[in-house]
């Protein structure tokens, strides 16, 4: 074959499994072929196609930071055929991976700015990659603020990291759960992310906002940011249209003239406003 088979995955070994929340796990993955591992590089925002051979492929972002070399991590929720098969696997088992695909967060362009991260539910993974990437380059940025919300306390993922970030003097972190999702011990806020955001009255001055979450949260967060004076091109998010190929061929992620897998998944609010609302 003169051109390489672009659908052929690398074989990766699960080095470590972390249970994050009910139905949510993180895999740390190593390339079986160390040479492939050395050649591999990616940037914050990119994703891959992960597969259980015999069950199929599914799309997750790369949740570890490119500054932490030698492995990649993904965090996923058990949902359907492939994620359920992944859920059954143990440390030492192998899976398929192809990627990295898609565009990236333009971190270099954010030097000297304040960063406001806003994430909801299982959407913290793409954000986690970006947050660690930015914290590993902490001197590039001014204030770093993280707002993270989930349905219930149990649904918050990356609990150890939330504590680690909270302990840092150079990060301001606010966590919230939906009304009714709190426990007696809960010390964070209670309320939906967009409402809590409005209460925080963030300054839009020299600030980039990055929003990841379910479509409904994103919609209302955009409204809150708009009210706070954020310009559409200072707001970034990722779209998660269903994907198969990841390389602009299968047509599944096509929204307007855009292929989310190739032109995204990272978009500014300004770009999204120009797209048909098919995401």
């Amino acid at each position: 074959m003169s051109d390489a088979n672009v659908y052929k995955p690398s074989v990766m070994r699960i080095e470590k499994i972390t249970e994050e929340a009910p139905g949510v796990k993180t895999f740390r993955l190593l390339f079986n072929d160390p040479e492939e591992g050395r050649r591999f590089s990616f940037k914050a925002g990119q994703f891959g196609e992960y597969s259980v051979f015999g069950e199929g492929e599914c799309t997750f972002c790369i949740a570890s930071s490119p500054t932490r070399e030698g492995y990649i991590e993904c965090t996923f929720r058990q949902a359907g055929r492939v994620t359920s098969a992944l859920f059954e696997l143990e440390e030492g088992d192998t899976i398929g991976f192809r990627g990295p695909y898609g565009n990236t967060f333009p971190i270099e362009e954010w030097k000297g700015k304040n960063l406001l991260f806003i994430a909801g539910g299982i959407a913290l993974p793409p954000m986690r990659c970006l947050i660690w990437n930015c914290l590993d380059r902490r001197d590039w940025f001014r204030d770093v603020t993280i707002l993270y919300g989930a349905r219930t306390v149990a649904d918050l993922v990356y609990k150890r990291e939330l504590e680690e970030w909270a302990a840092r003097p150079d990060v301001k972190i606010v966590t919230t759960v939906d009304p009714g999702g709190e426990t007696p011990e809960w010390k964070g806020k209670v309320g939906f992310v967009p409402t809590v955001l409005e209460g925080m009255a963030p300054s839009s001055e020299n600030t980039i906002a990055i929003v990841c979450g379910p479509p409904i949260m994103i919609k209302f967060t955009f409204i809150a940011l708009d009210k706070a004076g954020f310009k559409p091109d200072a707001i970034f998010t990722t779209l998660e249209n269903r994907m198969k190929c990841g390389i602009g061929k299968c047509g599944r992620c096509n929204v307007g003239p855009v292929f989310v897998c190739k032109d995204g998944p990272v978009f500014t609010y300004a770009q999204i406003k120009d797209l048909p609302a098919e995401y």
């Binding site: 052929k8 051979f53 015999g54 249209n241 929204v255």
Partner: protein, 342 residues
């Protein structure tokens, strides 16, 4: 290269098929199967039906099979081994008697498979395919090639284009180097073309109802006109037949077959008309209504592909309209789109 004109006597076609077969190449041609005509392998010209108007299925299967193996995997000991399909074993193939719409469709398919990342499967098949097109002497009410920049005698996509003259003999236009190489298999059959050989009078008359550029601009301008799209798609069942018969539709799914120890990864035709095509895991569906899916089909072919891949995604073959169980008619809907007031 400049197109060369030759004459192929009607009785010489049989010899040409023999020579191609003798050279170890497979020949596919339209073959009558009961009430339908479909592309199928032939051993002799007697099996072919060259008087057909349109096959039910397009020949895209030859370049983009309905189901294609893209990987095989096997657990050996503890380790998973993966292997590429062997594309070097693909046979050299000649498709004979393909109409100009289908020949032009190869360019649209190719744009999708090679516009960015190169798809080795499509390219390997294309490399081994030679197209001997056949101009249309007759169309039907579903044909609209003339409205999408083509015509019953266009050479686009053909390596050789045959046109049956009034005498019954064929004018052979040799368009590409691949076509020339095919002539070399039987040079004695390709006679000098008579100076007065009149191709135009041998062609079907296909009305030009609009231009593809107009159709694309108008669809874009009326994107938010839900009443238009929902109205047009009211009876659409979302069955996907239109996409399956279409020579340019290339949406696909990827699925595994086998067990977790041994199996294959397949890519299979899919359709943007299926409700499940875009559904998120949460159950949220970005294209909830059939009208939005129908709009996607037209926008993709007439607006997005020209914008991103610099080709149109419809060649006016009319297959989708003929195949639709509830008589959705793309040509009529495009005319309606152009005429309706906004």
């Amino acid at each position: 290269m400049e197109i060369e004109r030759r004459l192929l006597k009607k009785e010489a076609l049989a010899g040409l098929v023999e020579k191609i077969n003798a050279a170890g190449r497979k020949v596919h041609a339209p073959v009558c199967e009961g009430a339908r005509v479909e592309f199928a392998p032939i051993d002799s010209i007697a099996e072919a039906d060259l008087g057909y108007v349109q096959t039910t299925q397009s020949a895209k299967n030859l370049l983009f099979p309905r189901v294609e193996r893209i990987l095989s995997f096997k657990r050996r000991g503890g380790a998973m081994e993966t292997a590429d399909p062997d594309l070097s074993a693909l046979p050299e193939t000649v498709v004979l008697g393909m109409h100009p719409c289908d020949a032009a469709a190869i360019g649209s398919l190719g744009a999708i498979f090679t516009w960015d990342t190169q798809d080795a499967f499509f390219k390997a098949r294309l490399e081994k395919l030679t197209v001997v097109g056949l101009s249309c002497a007759a169309g039907d009410e579903y044909c609209f090639c003339a409205s999408v920049g083509l015509g019953p005698g266009s050479t686009e996509g053909s390596d050789i284009l045959l046109t049956r003259l009034a005498s019954g003999d064929f004018l052979a236009e040799i368009v590409t180097a691949k076509g020339k190489a095919l002539v070399e298999l039987a040079p004695e059959l390709f006679l000098p073309a008579p100076a007065g050989a009149d191709k135009d009078s041998a062609l079907a008359r296909i009305e030009k109802s609009f231009t593809r550029e107009e159709a694309g601009e108008r669809a874009k301008a009326r994107f938010d006109d839900d009443a238009l799209w929902d109205g047009q798609a009211l009876r659409c069942l979302g069955c996907g037949a239109c996409a399956y018969v279409c020579p340019t539709c290339a949406c696909f799914d990827i699925q595994d077959e086998g067990t977790t120890s041994r199996g294959v990864r397949l890519r299979c035709w899919d359709s943007c008309g299926f409700p499940a095509f875009t559904i998120h895991t949460s159950g949220h569906n970005p294209r909830e209504e059939q009208g939005a899916r129908w709009r996607q089909r037209l926008m993709h072919k007439f607006s997005y592909m020209p914008e991103r891949q610099d080709v149109f995604g419809c060649v006016g073959c009319g297959r989708c309209s003929r195949a639709c169980p509830v008589d959705m008619n793309i040509k009529e809907h495009l005319i309606d789109l152009l005429e309706a007031k906004s």
